[in-house]
Point group: C3
Chain length 273, copies 3
């Protein structure tokens, strides 16, 4: 089923506007090219509306946010809403500083997001509105495990209902939820956390998948999350003795470049709750 989503990206080659951090921006551009989409990066208030207008989707990632780029995030988000383009929020480090928490919450208030993708701590920060990394909801543990999966899924669905967005909580187990349906995805490899930017890359990729399959947001996000995990697995199988995290980064992007819809469907491991 995810095969169709992958093919849509390759056939429609959506142009994705990224307002993203300068740490992983090159990898975000290359993963978009690898999957068949096209990237454009622009963050200045003086041009973000023009750029978003020629794109098919907008990816807002708040890592290395600053006083100059924050207004660009708001302006681009509102413009994309006007044009009914899909918009994704990656609240990198929400909870780690008051500025990040405040910015992410402000964006949630003023922009309608199609997808919100982050790790469990970031999503909890958004859900509880708390500006502290310690302000964690006691009912949802800090990592998603087989044991607490039902509670985590309930939390994701509830936050999806509240925001109207597809919520993707990624980690060892990934949850992709709308208000009433959730994919629990078991692909990926622990070594993915030894590379900077796999989360950022996934957000860029997800924006492309959603932009290419309008009307199938939940499935498109699940397909993108599976695709990233499957590429993490394929890349891990390729590692030689001397390889480490830098080669692994390259191999993941390479795997995305070579990923077929058949391989994606065959390797996807998920349950629907």
């Amino acid at each position: 089923m995810f095969e169709e989503m992958l093919k849509n990206v390759r056939q429609r080659s959506p142009l994705i506007h990224n307002i993203t951090n300068y740490v992983t921006v090159n990898d975000c551009a290359n993963i978009l090219l690898a999957c068949g989409a096209s990237p454009i990066m622009a963050d200045d208030i003086g041009e973000v509306e023009d750029i978003t207008a020629i794109c098919a989707g907008l990816n807002i990632n708040i890592g290395t946010l600053n006083s100059r780029t924050i207004p660009g995030m708001f302006a681009a988000g509102k413009k994309a809403n006007e044009l009914t383009h899909p918009v994704l929020l990656d609240p990198v480090g929400a909870g780690a500083s008051a500025l990040r928490t405040r910015t992410a919450l402000g964006l949630l208030d003023e922009v309608k997001f199609t997808v919100i993708r982050g790790n469990i701590s970031e999503i909890k920060t958004l859900a509880t509105g708390s500006g502290s990394t310690k302000g964690v909801d006691a009912d949802v543990a800090d990592s998603v495990t087989r044991e607490n999966l039902p509670q985590a899924v309930a939390f994701a669905k509830s936050f999806a209902e509240k925001t109207g967005a597809v919520v993707a909580i990624t980690g060892a187990i990934d949850i992709v939820a709308s208000a009433d349906k959730a994919y629990c995805i078991f692909n990926g490899h622990p070594m993915m956390s030894s590379i900077t930017g796999t989360g950022c890359q996934l957000s860029a990729l997800t924006t492309a998948y959603v932009a290419a399959s309008p009307g199938s947001e939940l499935e498109a996000v699940a397909a993108a999350v599976c695709a990233m995990g499957v590429c993490g697995e394929i890349a891990h199988e390729r590692l030689g003795d001397a390889d480490g995290n830098s080669s692994y980064r390259n191999y993941i992007i390479d795997a995305m470049y070579n990923l077929t819809g058949y391989a994606l469907d065959r390797r996807a491991k998920y349950e629907i709750l």
Copy 2:
């Protein structure tokens, strides 16, 4: 003949000042080192004049331009002109936003460029002065082919005459033109467009080639364009089954590191019109 240009870069190791986007900046630095030059990146108005003064050439790339860096582009360009250093303009995305078009046209007005390098759409935007990606000159098609090559060459020569710069229009076929002579270059591989930043890298490389061979600007630009294309070919021959665009990016830079003048001359494919 291009062999001499390559040797000049390796022997003189010009220090190149880059004001460039944060997407591909690392690749620009590494391609400069690969070819034998040295990079320095600096974009703040408070230091760009000092930095340009100690360099041999200036590369201005407007990707991810912003309100803070634009004044630095103008100041550095003017300073480089004063010092008669070669200056290259890469009008990334001119036509995609009014800010980019306006900035590129403003730079053309106030700075004398030695080289202007972009894709056909960007160069057309500069030539027509139009702020729209749709404002395309009807006489020059949007991609350069064997069929429309004479018209594209005439367009490039005319823009070179108007600006006094060597004009490099790169794509499947590359055109490098002065007012009265043009190299049409047939090197490269289509897969180069699946990597972010091959254009940006070429602009950095070209600045180094021009800086190392003063008085031979046209030939230096042609040599740089050929070198990039040849490295794209060599890197493509090296690809294994599991490799994709990320490994390809590394292999292109590796190929530049290992490129000899002999291989460049032997593999260069061009016609002079």
Copy 3:
């Protein structure tokens, strides 16, 4: 002996706050992950204090400094001092522009650094307070050789005494000095200078080593410098005929990922003066 330092990093996995340039920032993040630490990048005055407060060490690198990020460097440095977190200064390009020299000297005035790491020219600029790249102390030559090593060590010790910091002068021979003890390190490979960012990566790595071994600053810095050099050697041994500086960059980070304490101690080449 360095084995213990490496193990401390892997066991304690310090979170390192980096205010660094956009050229090599991705490599800095990946080398931190490779060594077992965790990176966070944040440069806006609106959040640097919050971010530093949750970290174990701060790495201030002035490459691509600008009017927006400079105040963030001062604020973060002062906050880290308050919290007695280790702070490293990498004065990239001090001497190349008045802005860089002035900023580096201002930081030295207002922030207490645990480590200062740069090349010989940068450190001389700081020591002489001169804003010119030509303002070189006549007693210390511009590259450290076997012949002038005693003078260079005396210079490093004297600057360490003056600043109260561990001073690391890196190049073909590396010197890591406190006021009364210096490690002269002979690891590394000349090809490391053909990659952008080995110095920046070393600064990030060093911050992690110092953060993980409080009370053993001198040895921790020496261990980090040795580790980087050893990885440069291991990566060089791995190069194939077609490999160049881009693959070399990946192999160095890979080598750090796979580096064992045993290999570090066995390959470390140093003298204590």
